[in-house]
Symmetry: C2
């Protein structure tokens, strides 16, 4: 309850929240509409909304804890939804190709980033951190583009998803290595081995036994539950449990969310799909906008920073695109290109590594800004590139797709 | 990405959010299940979850900005959903009864609160603030109980909703009066008249012309929009616009959310209903839990405070129940009792008034704690009382209910 006509009191009690929600959600949807009309994926609009509202252009909204939390919820629901469309067995079938895609797609970007910064006469440690920041793919944007196109069942989509999960584990190990280097201590091989075993163990356990366990346990729970929308309540609690376990085991919370969805993929009812979709529709625009909100193009006033930023961005796209593409070369050029481009977006993991480097004094403010720019720009450029790479494919229905759901 | 096996690092980056979400959402749903089995509305479980996790019992979760924001989103979606089930014309039909219900239900609680505190030898100003805190009904809980019982189309439900909207405007005026008294200045009659005109004007404009305008404008917008789930995007943006306009015009954001839903009630597709329901299912548990999280039973160690707290609580229930019941006496005892009990929960508005009093030094810390306790306890006691009052009614289908939606 604010005073009447306090039109400008945007920070007054009770006004702030609806205003923030309206600005972010409304702008994201409006620009999504503009993007669709320009024959771009709607997701581009959400990304542009963040840039427009953030420090780069209007500076109307500061990226705050609330938006960060809504963004995290958004990307968790996005990956959960994607997981619901993917069966674990399908992911295991493409495991070998995905492993090669992930490994080549980690080595090449690291080398590119390192070489560029050394060539530009930056220090060894800073060069290593930039390479590390270029390593980890953030699969949310690609998943959203393919989901909107109805292509999550395409075999390249499955390779991308499986490779992204492996890539997250590799990124975790790279982070562990560079963190200990940033602190100036030697590499803790025992610690890294533990990290590797715990994270790989968690992921493999869920991929191999998650669906079976859920298929046995869930019906027993649901027949017991009388509460309204019991399946949604159980599924969303499971999502948060898995996100939490993923964090504890070292991998990203969104990998947990994806694995949770995948474990439920065989048992999920159409009703659950729709309710999760409803939650996601509200939250995902905040994830998209948050990416642009974190970028400040104002740092590129210095010529050296601008040149280096562009060089790093091009290297980030080429190294991941070519590296992952090479890993899937046996599928032919078209599919290899699709997979390569699908792995290009870096998103939040690159930013986390840059933040670690900055907080430990291993990299300069400028190098940090470049790493953030690289993470955001690869994410924003991916949807139009993917749109191009997948333009000649029509939607692939899932094996047991529910006709009501597709309509 | 946290270190492996950091099981206890609940505040570490990335772990905090899923853990908070799991604790609040999971506990609310689990206790909802327990409530259902004890033949209580599931909503009681959500309220108890807050008490259990909050300072009164386990003290595992502090009520923070994020939970507050999720709670506000939750109650906005709750009232929006309720609005979608109610037609403006139906509300106008019960306008006269609702007006009497609201007025008697404001005068009586104010008098009761004032008399009790004066009798307990508290100061005039403190007594007036306590009376004011007892004035405003928060309709969310009642709406949720009636919605879960399929009784939103019952005529008493419509009177409760209409009276709650009027009550919010009256509460706003009471707040304006006591605020100026708390600041020690005279009552600003011109300011209060402006507040009254703006808020009443806003509400009446939406109730009278909202549906017509939406019915004309919305189809034109939707035929233009190509973005996926365009109806949801437009409806949710509209929800935030109306919540914002409501705040600006002085009434609660949730009144705006309710009016937004009502304006869309005639045009909303079943798909919109389901998607909004999906968003609500995720958010509403946070609203429920937030109520209990804000209560600290620890303040009642002093005998005087405990006695006064119980007296105020009983007065709050009786005065609203009887006052609103008297206003609807012509409907017979049963319906009058239903309406009276439906108006009992005070929720956040009473807390806002108590906060104003505390911040201006008009009331003591103890009186503040009692006002918060009264707000929370009336809200928690309402669902079982409503369950009793409505036990002999079966669900009333809406006139044009979609069979798929009800199933």
């Amino acid at each position: 309850m604010t005073p009447p006509l306090a039109f400008l009191a945007a920070s007054a009690e009770g006004v702030n929240l609806p205003l923030q929600m309206l600005l972010v959600f409304g702008t994201a949807k409006l620009l999504a509409e503009v993007s669709e009309r320009l024959r771009m994926p709607g997701i581009v609009g959400g990304l542009l909304a963040g840039i427009l509202l953030g420090p780069s252009v209007l500076n109307w909204i500061a990226y705050n804890d609330l938006l960060h939390a809504l963004a995290e919820l958004g990307v968790m629901f996005l990956l959960f939804q994607v997981g619901l469309e993917v069966k674990a067995s399908e992911l295991l079938n493409v495991g070998k190709t995905a492993l090669i895609v992930a490994i080549v797609g980690v080595v090449l970007p690291f080398l590119f980033g390192w070489v560029i910064l050394v060539a530009a006469r930056h220090g060894q440690l800073e060069a290593i951190f930039m390479g590390a920041a270029m390593v980890a793919t953030s699969v949310g944007i690609t998943a959203q583009v393919l989901s909107a196109k109805g292509l999550l069942s395409h075999h390249t989509a499955k390779i991308i998803l499986a490779a992204a999960v492996i890539d997250d584990v590799l990124g975790l190990l790279v982070l562990a290595v560079v963190s200990s280097m940033g602190e100036g201590r030697g590499i803790d091989f025992l610690g890294i081995l533990t990290t590797a075993l715990v994270s790989i163990g968690f992921v493999m356990a869920v991929v191999r036994y998650g669906t079976k366990t859920v298929n046995i346990v869930l019906p027993k729970i649901l027949t017991q539950f009388k509460v309204q929308e019991a399946e949604f309540a159980v599924a969303v609690s499971f999502l948060f449990v898995m996100a939490l376990l993923a964090s504890y085991s070292g991998v990203a919370a969104i990998v947990g969310a994806f694995l949770a969805g995948m474990a439920l993929a065989e048992s999920a009812s159409p009703r659950l799909h729709t309710l999760v979709h409803g939650s996601g529709e509200l939250m995902i625009p905040f994830f998209l906008a948050s990416i642009g909100l974190q970028m400040d193009l104002g740092v590129f006033r210095s010529g050296h920073t601008l040149a280096l930023g562009i060089a790093v961005l091009i290297a980030a796209i080429l190294s991941k695109g070519v590296g992952c593409g090479l890993g899937a070369w046996n599928l032919g050029f078209k599919d290899a290109a699709r997979i390569g481009l699908g792995m290009v977006p870096r998103g939040e993991v690159g930013m986390v590594i840059a933040q670690v480097g900055l907080s430990k004094g291993s990299i300069s403010q400028d190098a940090y800004a470049i790493a953030v720019f690289m993470s955001v720009a690869t994410t924003i450029l991916a949807p139009p590139l993917l749109n191009l790479a997948y333009r000649d494919l029509s939607p692939v229905p899932a094996d047991d797709a529910d006709p009501e759901e597709i309509a």
